[in-house]
Amino acid sequence: MTGDTSFFAGFMDDYFAECDEHLGAIRRHLLAIESAGEGGVDRAMLDDLFRSFHSIKGISGMVELRDAELLAHHLESFLRRLRDGEAQLTADGLDALIEGVDLLERTIAARREHVPSPPAGDVIDRLTGAALETPPAESATIGPADQPAPSWRITFAPSPQLVARGINVDTVRARLRAAGTILDATPRMLPDGIAFEFAFAGELDPETVEAWRSEGLTVERVDAPVVASTERSITADAGARAVQPSHVVRVDLTRLDDLMRIIGDLVIARARLEDSLRRIVKHVPAVEWRAVQENSLTIERQLRDLREGIMRVRLVPVSEIFRRMPFVVRDLTREQGKKVRLQLDGQHTEIDKFLIERMLDPVLHLVRNAVSHGFELPEERVQAGKPAEGTLRLTAAGVGESVVLEIIDDGRGIDAGQVAARARAAGLPVPAGPLDEATLLDLICTPGFSTRDVTDRASGRGVGMSVVKNTVQELNGTLRLETARGEGTRFVIELPLTLSIADALIATVGDRTFALPQPSVREVVEIDPAALRRVEHQEIAPFRGGVLPIVRLARVFGIPAAPRPRLHVFVIGAGQDAVGLAVDRIVGQREIVVRTMADPLVRVGGIVGATDLGDGRVVLILDPPALARRARAAEQQPAGAS
């Protein structure tokens, strides 16, 4: 029985993956259509869209997701009418199409999350209604009407079957000549034979295109007018497209996770081997030892390469997040009467697939917030001496082992006074005096804080700023805020490129073992407990001419631990923010395989995940910045709380 369910689960995974692919292609086309205006629709695009909806309809039927099947059916019919010239794409039609796609996406997502499908509302009526509008008589083809002669790329691949039907390159050429002008003809070698590519200019009605297609010709509308001199770039482009699909393999993320886990096990096994080798070193003659040592180091290096290779496979471009944003911005600006131009930079920056999935909602939220709260109405902007149209920039860039995402608006900026007032009204503690950006960020990220009604559709979808911050921190990243009144707001998210394997320091407290991500540890020192002084309820140690507040992990976590003659201390943070995290003993440094601990039952402050040191026992990974914050918060509270 479990066999059946897991088979079905795997089947559904395939279904979702395939839907994702089609929906991605659909969104790209819709964007292109939208940015080109109503005249920018070409036949090839409509064909692609039609095929994508058709596929989704088919596979939705197979998994018995009737709502998606029905919706895809209506979208497909709508596209068919457009493609066949029975209807023209109006602004209303485009809206209906975009809404239909949005609903389709949400319907599929609802199935994935095992919740009921969202209500279809009037989307289907609008699709059937929009499609009924007949085009004006003179422009039966969709496309820029004033362009003299549309250009086409027509490819003919001869085959024995076609030749038997009397269709060869000469008859094709004659047919093209009769219909228009052949600008260029190029023979091209394909993996399975030869093909002739014609650059052609002329009016082709849909019937002719359909007839030619049924005879084995590929007919593609070319946006820019083709002239003979561009022939080289066209063939290069077409060649690249012809080759691409066969070199791309779609892999289920869980299979990569399995591989990663195996590599993780290898890393652990090698660490153990290293330990055993170190124990026998004195019993082995130096000459033989050297060979053993060299082999061991080679394995380590190869393991590292293997690990990096797998990590690279997991990387996907950040455009998977970005490409959804134009729709969100478009809907919101329309709804709220705002004018916002969206600029996307660094879309090719690559990031771990897992991070992409987790970051989608937070980025969506920041973008929605920017449009809803960040930007002024066009008239306010003009009054303030700014262009009526605001600019929202989303940027991504790889910086060493991290990726930086920025969401930048040139809106009104965050009003610190207003934030403070709202926070007080919500019963949140607000420090006196002017608020710096870090405090501002803390306040707006506090659960229960909202700058507008929670029923506001844009920000009322369950993902608040607190979730944004939590998600970023869970992923071991940082969130920063920069804002200036009247000039705009910038959110900066820095994330590690990948999460799976990290260098860590291993420490013990009482009978517990913990791991600390090495990058967060600035220094490791040993302190004599006798040197500690108590100021109010905080222990401090003299350190580099100043003092270092000491946080004992045993106390923070309430772990029984016997007094030790020496304390091992991790120095976390720099300057004023430096905190010493005291443990019983630091036992070593290891490469660890990071596993998430996402379940709400065990999502606690100060712990970011878990790992395994090879004995099957879970070792918790500490979150030093969170522990330091906690320590600073405790400073302001009476002793005995922790």
């Binding site: 029985m1 369910t5 999350e113 095992h114 886990r261 517990r512 923070v556 976590f557 309430g558 772990i559 596993r595 998430t596 601990m597 379940d599 709400p600 039952l601 065990v602 606690v604 402050g605 100060g606 712990i607 995940g609 878990a610 395994d612 099957g616 026992r617 879970v618 070792v619 918790l620």
Partner: protein, 146 residues
């Protein structure tokens, strides 16, 4: 429509959970305590390479914890996209129940574990309490929250 259930015992009472909601049943070993987790969470364990919380059902239902022994089991259940291990006294039986055999819990059972129940079934004179996983796994206790 009948479905298969896995039966387990906690503090002398027999409970049932749908077998399709159970990923696997394991011996309990090496639970790592998690500081600041809710009191009914024993800690986390590795289960097939995944870190899952170990939720002690005795503690969840307000009984005294019992030391783990050879019969103690971890039922790794899947609900609402989560994987959670339930620590139970024993889990051995597999039964088939018809939908009609499951009655609403009724007022007599609303105390103690009653609010974690989806229903009650009588099978060969045995009382079987059918667990509502979403209530058991929800951290915020609905009764306390009000």
């Amino acid at each position: 429509m009948s479905e298969t259930f896995i039966l387990f015992t906690v503090a002398g009472t027999t409970y049932a959970v749908r077998s399709r909601e159970v990923a696997h049943v394991e011996m309990v070993e090496q639970v790592t305590p998690v500081p600041d987790a809710p009191p009914f969470v024993d800690g986390v364990v590795f289960s097939r390479g995944q870190v899952v919380p170990a939720l002690n059902l005795r503690a969840r239902f307000g009984f005294e914890r019992a030391p783990y022994d050879v019969r103690t089991r971890l039922l790794v259940v899947q609900s609402e996209g989560r994987s959670v291990g339930l620590v139970v006294d024993a889990a051995r039986e597999f039964i088939r129940l018809d939908g009609a055999q499951i009655q609403p819990p009724g007022t007599a059972l609303t105390d103690l574990s009653g609010r974690y129940l989806e229903g009650v079934a009588n099978l060969d004179d045995r009382l079987i309490l059918v667990l509502s996983l979403s209530h058991v796994l929800n951290f915020v206790d609905p009764v306390v929250a009000d």
